[in-house]
């Protein structure tokens, strides 16, 4: 089962904070993270974000699940920096990535998608004057969040089918059906959106 980055109901102060405020903090931290240059700074930032998980009463297993997909890429980046720049630089780079992923996940775990969509639609309102449809941007955000578990589910099904047929180490046998099924899903979702009056 996959609960990656999906809303967990709650009544904590983080849950009650408006979606706009949370998104603004996330953007500010994202921009500010380029100034984090020392291990103590990164360590403190990670601890502050983890404190947010405690305040929001997010289970530890769910917290770990948010960063688990990073293991391979973080491992590769860390190994590169340890060899080239030393362990301190490796900690700073990987730590910043992990902190940002944890923060983004904390926002999605404590915010209803509709609240985020409303915030995005509000912020993007002025773009109407240059021909951008804020409602469509909001829908795009909602669909992106909704699609994460769908694509993960499709990948699991494809991997199972691959194993059942003994194709355990074939990237092509994994990628091709996953792309085809994802495109089919997108097609069917498009039909469903039209049927529900989205294009009207």
């Amino acid at each position: 089962m996959n609960t990656l980055g999906l809303y967990l109901p709650g009544t904590s102060v983080i849950h009650r904070t408006t979606a706009g405020a949370k998104l603004a903090v996330m953007c500010a931290v994202g921009v500010g993270s380029i100034f984090l240059d020392h291990t103590w700074q990164v360590g403190t930032a990670i601890l502050v974000v983890l404190a947010g998980y405690v305040v929001a009463r997010i289970p530890i297993r769910t917290t770990i699940r948010q960063v688990r997909p990073l293991i391979w890429i973080a491992g590769f980046v860390a190994a590169f920096h340890v060899i080239v720049n030393g362990w301190e630089r490796a900690f700073v780079v990987v730590g910043v990535i992990a902190m940002l992923v944890l923060l983004a996940s904390l926002v999605t775990l404590t915010t209803r998608t509709t609240a985020m969509v409303d915030a995005v639609v509000f912020v993007c309102g002025p773009l109407r004057h240059v021909g951008v449809d804020p409602e469509r941007l909001g829908l795009l955000l909602a669909l992106s969040i909704r699609s994460v578990p769908v694509i993960v589910g499709l990948a699991e099904e494809v991997r199972d089918a691959q194993r059942a047929r003994g194709l355990t180490a074939s990237p092509r046998a994994f990628a091709v059906p996953l792309i085809v099924r994802s495109l089919r899903h997108a097609d069917a979702l498009g039909d469903a959106l039209v049927a529900r009056g989205v294009d009207d």
Binding site: L6, T114, R146, P149, L189, L193, V194, A195, R196, D200
Partner: protein, 230 residues
């Protein structure tokens, strides 16, 4: 009941070299409350029902719902005709149950209070209360189909089109969905391979090889279909 008129409809997919005709000269007028649509795979029944809420526009001929041409008045037609697909995963748009039910209502500009009230009613009516904040993708197959159904029904369409809604479900969940369909006050067009779901229906259309080949009472139509498939 709404009046659905299909006049001289022929439809094909693809360009000239790969053109594949999927419906040939279909003429029918539907006024009954319960209408079943059966036929072999590839016989044209899914395309037929997609014409009815304007998901597909006919290559030739016309489709009208209460006098509204689906080509010219797609928006009004889609407000009257709800559509439920075979695979609920492909039609659940929002991440959580109550957000998905509210999705269609939000786009109709209803007040927050009205939306909350309708969503709460739908959750209770379709046995999804207690799942309001659950991620939609973690529901069982039957619950997903009930969610897809309730998300369409909450917008109160006059006609509901169901394209094989029980094909991916086990017997228990198929029975649950069938129960919900049986109790609907709307006009229902049901495409199915589960012939027992047509019990109590008033009219059944049989499609074969892109044509409407039989149109009549359920027992006669099912008998005709069974002989055709024998």
């Amino acid at each position: 009941m709404p009046v659905i008129e299909v006049d001289g409809v022929t439809h094909a997919y693809g360009e000239q070299s790969s053109r594949r005709v999927v419906l040939t000269d279909v003429n029918v007028r539907l006024v009954e409350q319960r209408i079943g649509i059966i036929g072999a795979n590839g016989s044209g029944k899914s395309t037929f029902v997609r014409l009815i809420n304007g998901l597909v526009n006919p290559e030739s001929g016309s489709v009208r719902v209460d006098g509204l041409d689906t080509k010219k008045h797609g928006r009004e037609v889609r407000k009257r005709v709800g559509f439920c697909f075979t695979d609920p995963d492909a039609q659940i748009v929002m991440p959580t149950v109550q957000e998905d039910i509210a999705f269609g209502l939000r786009r109709r500009g209803l007040s927050k209070e009205e939306i909350a009230s309708r969503v709460s009613d739908a959750l209770t009516t379709y046995g999804l209360d207690g799942h309001a904040d659950h991620p939609a993708h973690l529901l069982s197959g039957g619950q997903k189909q009930l969610l897809a159904l309730s998300s369409v029904l909450v917008t109160e369409p006059a006609t509901l089109v169901l394209d094989e809604p029980t094909t991916l479900l086990d017997l228990r969940n198929a029975a649950k969905v069938a129960d919900v369909v049986r109790q609907l006050s709307q006009q229902v067009l049901l495409v199915t391979h589960h012939l027992d779901l047509l019990d109590g229906f008033e009219r059944v259309l049989v499609f074969n090889d892109t044509r409407l080949v039989y149109d009549g009472a359920p027992d006669d139509a099912i008998g005709y279909y069974q002989k055709l498939m024998a």
